[in-house]
Each structure stands twice: as structure tokens, then as C-alpha cells.
Symmetry: C2
Subunit: 337 residues, 2 copies
């Protein structure tokens, strides 16, 4: 069935059925009234700061060929949750403004909405509202609300801090190259890479752990590549950065050691530095953490932390050290304009 | 200068300069970090419920010919504020996700952003964040946050309540007909009608007064025409409605009595019932208010209230009474699908 046959009100009724909320927290949810109503007394939990973020994904720019409607919906939530994670927040509510072409099949919307609900509920977030308009291409604008008592900003890094990252970088970039037939791996490994690109995992738990470690000084998510994200921390904190090429965790372990994958060390580093889509967290820690074996072990285990650099005075700029050589880091990555 | 010359980060820096926020309420505002950070301790003011709403406006669907960039920005905020008004809330924060064609001039964005800031600041609302993507047409998705202690829902109307509306309806519809050359009035009156369509005024103060009157039972804003809005109250409250055609305030006074305007009574009523864009509030009051002269006078004066109908049992459906005649109201208006 096409959406035009369903009508706007029929479509809204069909969509909101999928969103499960706890009426004690959300007395009025999606499709029920002019606004969503959230009971701060129930949800606030002692947190002082409200976090809000909004991010748009659209068919032509953000969705590589081969993504399912479920994965598109999932991603629209994930990219917003990632911004909450990047400040160490706990997300609790999500809104979705859908721009949908008129010829879309109702079953496509069902799958899209299932992806939205799946990602939100995986991270304890209620889908509380939204909007629908007819548009020339699929456009998903999400807004996510979260709470925290100590927001971890981009601006807190100090000279001497160590630069760290969660997980590994470059799987999403590799998937793009596989989709473009620039590289080849086994079907099984292709699926691993595509999962990173098609269904990104926001690092909510990791961000919370880092923000509450007592040793973190700044944080950001890596949505447009490591180079642009480290530049944001450098700018926000008025510092320079030296990254150590050898320690940047490029590709997840299955892919890193695959023999079919013919990539030079430089090509590997490029995957991490200049491509988007990974949604890992980049953060800085007070240098004294290096002497705190218990904390180091906790962070390695719980947030899969790698130490990839150090904060230097701003005059030194942003550089990449490879063995004995040190060169200025190019600041390029994904930009919309 | 074109946006492509400015670059994404240059464009963001240019935009966020325009947004003035109180750092005590908004420690991190637009362009500063992954999320906006709002200090609930400062902003909450004893209110229990958080209100959130999102609404999209786009060039091809929502912006009639002749609208300035300033008015497009203003409208993107106004339609969201109107949803906060419709629950009696006090807005405090706004986010804007911009979809912008690459060939847009930077001066267009300056004017658009000035309109966003002007509407938000007029209604004591801080623009705290947003997003920018490149799109095929101009798309503005706003998200507004508000607070209230007693959200006035669509679902509280009871049999016997009186149905009321703020201000007057139909100016925006008339402006559309003037733009289409279907009708003619003096230049001065054309400007009055166009102001309603091009720069709608969200009824924040009125909504707050109604919600705090102690006699209101339900409320909604009239974005897609009176017929569809009254149908939402009827559905939400499981009641019927009888509207009195003679008392519906069609057109603002300057236009209502203009002799150049050749419109039959029926055509006038149509302007109010079946066209969108007015953003007045539709609400119901406990019938006993009719005997409370002081409250009636207060509401007439402060929210420009007209009594336009009464709530009846749901079996009676939704009807329009004209003199002795009563007929079923057609439920049509603006629909996206």
C-alpha cells in the first residue's frame, strides 16, 4: 500500500503504535497531543543538566547503497545518541521528523519505524514524538534528550593529557570501499565491515563510564573522521595534539589481521583519519591515569580504550608521529559544504 | 558569497554568532559542543513537566511565493512555539536543523537566521543548537522545549463545555487567495492578511493564561484549519461538537468590514474552517465560566476569546449550526498525504 492511500492521519496512527513508552515517565507520547509531555520528577533522577541535540540523515547524502529501511531508522537514532554519549549523558527521549516521498510503500515505513524503535529502546530511550512531511527524498531529523550531572565538553583538554579512543576506527570507511569495489574481503568479513557502516552503535555506556571515571578532561564523538574530531578538541581546548600512528586502532580485530586485505600501513591510517561513520568516542585523560593501573585496566576492559596521543601546547599544532618522523596532520574529512 | 565558498565550519561559525543565550541557563549553546547543555536548576522554576515538539517546514510545501528569508526563519520557530502554546507551556529552548541547497547565498542564511533569532527571542526562547545538511530544497526542522506544571491536553473536553478560540481565523487563508489573484483588497489590507500568513504569531501568552485560568478543560492550536483541529479535540476527548457559524470570528476586524472584499457568508466561514496557517488556539472551558463575569471579561480582554460552540455527546458527531439549520461538518483541511 502507498502512503497516499493511507492518508496523513492513518499514517501517523500506524507509526505511533510501534513506540512503547512508560506512561509514568511520558504521560503524553507520540501522536497524542501538540507536544510530548515528560515527567521531570520521574525522569530527572537528581541530574542537573539537560542535554539536547539534533541531527539529520538523508537518502542522497547519508545512506549508502544496500542499507535496509530498518538500518536507516536505526542510524537516525544512533547518530543522535552518539552526541549524548559524547558528553557522558544518559539519553531518555527521542523525536523523529520524517520527510517521506509520496510514492513510498507503507511496508517501508513499518521497517524504518521498527529500526527507530529498536535503536531507541536498546539504549533505554523513549520515542516520544515527531512530525511527517512529504518530501522529494527520505529525510530523517532526530532530536535526542539526555541528562547528566557533569557534561564532559570538548574544551577541557590540557597540555600533558593523554588522547584516547574507544573501540576501533575505519570499519565504516572500509565498508564504503568494499561497496565501491575498491577492495575485496570474504563475505563474512564484508558483513562485519558493513555492520559498522549500516548499523552504528552509539557508545552510551562507554561515554557514561568515561565521564564518571574522574580522570577525563574532554570528549567528542568521531562522526566525520579522527582528524576533524581531534581538531575540534584542539580548537575547543586551545591546545595542540601529537597522535601516534602506531597506536591508532585501525579496523576491528577480525579485519585487521585478514590476509586478503591488501592495504599499506598508510592506507590503513587513512581509513581512521579521514572517513566518517565510526561513532567511536575520542577523549582525553589526565596524564596521572597512566600510573593508576586499576583505572587503566578498567577503561581498557569497559570502554575498549586505546591511548593514541598526547596533548601538547597549541603552538605545536596537530601532528602525526610515525616512528621517528613527525608531520603536520591534514585536517580533512567529511564536510557538508 | 555562496555557501560552498564558506565551508561547513565557516557557515556554522557565521550562524551561531546570531544566537544570544544566557550562559547561566545554557552553559553550552549552538556550535559549542556535541549537545546543547541546559541548566535545569536555573530553568526549571518549579515546573514539573517538560514539553517537547518538532515540526518541519519546507520550501515546496510550506512557503508561499513572496515570503522573505527572515519570515521563513521566523515561521520555523513560530509553528513549534505554537505547539508549546497549545499545551499552556512556557518555551525556553529551540533547536534548528537546516537543509540548505548548495547554491544558496550566505546573505540568505543571514536573513533566515535573523528571523529564527527574532521569533525565538520575542518569546523568551534561547536557540541552543542545530544541524546543517546540504539538501535539494530549503528544509527547516525545529524542535522546541518548554515547561509547565499542568499540561492542557486535547483529551479533557466534557459534554456541556463551551468551545472557544483566540483572536480571529482566516487571514492566512485570505492571503493565499490574494496571492493567487482570486480576490482583491487594498494594498494596506493585503499587507495585513499577508502578515498572518508570512509571520504567524504563536499564542504563548494566551495559552499560558488559558491553562492557568482554572476553567480550561482542553486545548489545541489551529494549524490546518478549524475543522481538523476541532475533530482532534472531539476524538481525543470522545465527545461531539456543535459549532455556531455566526460566532466564529472570521478575519481580523480591518478585513472583516472591508467593502472591497466580495465574499459570501459561506465563503467567509470556509476560510476559517478549511485552511491552515492561523495558529490561533482552540480550547474548551467548563460551562460555569459563563456565569463568572470577571473571568469572561479577563479572557475576552487578555486572549481575545470568542465562544464558538459547545461540546455535545459523541453520538451527535461534529456539526455546524447556521441559524436554525444544523449540518454535519466536513472534516477536511490541510493534509500532507
Amino acid at each position: 500500500m502507498k502512503l497516499e492511500e493511507l492518508g496523513e492521519r492513518g499514517l501517523i496512527a500506524r507509526i505511533v503504535r510501534s513506540f512503547q513508552v512508560d506512561p509514568a515517565l511520558v504521560p503524553e507520547g507520540a501522536g497524542e497531543d501538540d507536544c510530548a509531555v515528560i515527567d521531570l520528577a520521574s525522569v530527572k533522577n537528581g541530574y542537573r543538566y539537560l542535554l539536547v541535540t539534533t541531527d539529520t540523515l538523508q537518502e542522497s547524502t547519508h545512506f549508502p547503497r544496500g542499507m535496509t529501511p530498518f538500518q536507516k531508522g536505526w542510524s537516525a537514532v544512533a547518530v543522535n545518541l552518539s552526541d549524548i554519549a559524547a558528553m557522558g549523558g544518559s539519553p531518555f527521549a527521542f523525536l523523529i521528523a520524517l520527510g517521506i516521498p509520496a510514492e513510498t510503500e507503507a511496508s517501508f515505513i513499518d521497517d524504518l519505524v521498527a529500526g527507530i524503535e529498536a535503536c531507541a529502546s536498546t539504549f533505554q530511550t523513549a520515542v516520544v514524538g515527531g512530525d511527517i512531511t512529504r518530501s522529494t527524498e527520505l529525510i530523517l531529523t532526530g532530536t535526542c534528550l539526555g541528562l547528566t550531572s557533569n557534561p564532559l565538553k570538548r574544551s577541557g583538554a590540557r597540555v600533558g593529557d593523554v588522547v584516547c579512543v574507544t573501540g576501533s576506527l575505519g570499519n565504516a570507511a572500509l565498508a564504503l570501499k568494499l561497496l565501491n569495489d575498491e577492495l575485496h574481503v570474504s563475505e563474512q568479513l564484508e558483513a562485519v565491515a558493513k555492520a559498522a557502516l549500516f548499523q552504528p552503535q552509539p557508545r552510551i555506556r562507554e561515554g557514561f563510564t568515561i565521564a564518571h571515571s574522574g580522570v577525563a578532561t574532554s570528549m567528542i564523538d568521531i562522526s566525520d573522521g579522527l582528524a576533524l574530531s581531534i581538531a575540534e578538541i584542539a580548537k575547543g581546548s586551545s591546545v595542540g595534539v601529537e597522535l601516534f600512528e602506531e597506536t591508532i586502532p585501525v579496523l576491528s580485530e577480525e579485519l585487521r589481521y585478514d590476509e586478503q586485505l591488501k592495504l599499506s600501513p598508510q592506507e590503513r591510517t587513512e581509513l581512521a583519519l579521514y572517513y566518517g561513520g565510526d561513532y567511536e568516542l575520542l577523549f582525553t585523560l589526565d596524564r596521572r591515569v597512566l600510573e593508576d593501573a586499576a583505572m587503566m585496566s578498567k577503561l581498557k576492559q569497559e570502554v575498549h580504550m586505546s591511548v593514541i596521543g598526547t596533548i601538547v601546547p597549541s603552538e605545536e599544532g596537530i601532528s602525526l608521529r610515525t616512528g621517528e618522523e613527525k608531520e603536520r596532520l591534514e585536517l580533512r574529512g567529511y564536510q557538508h559544504f
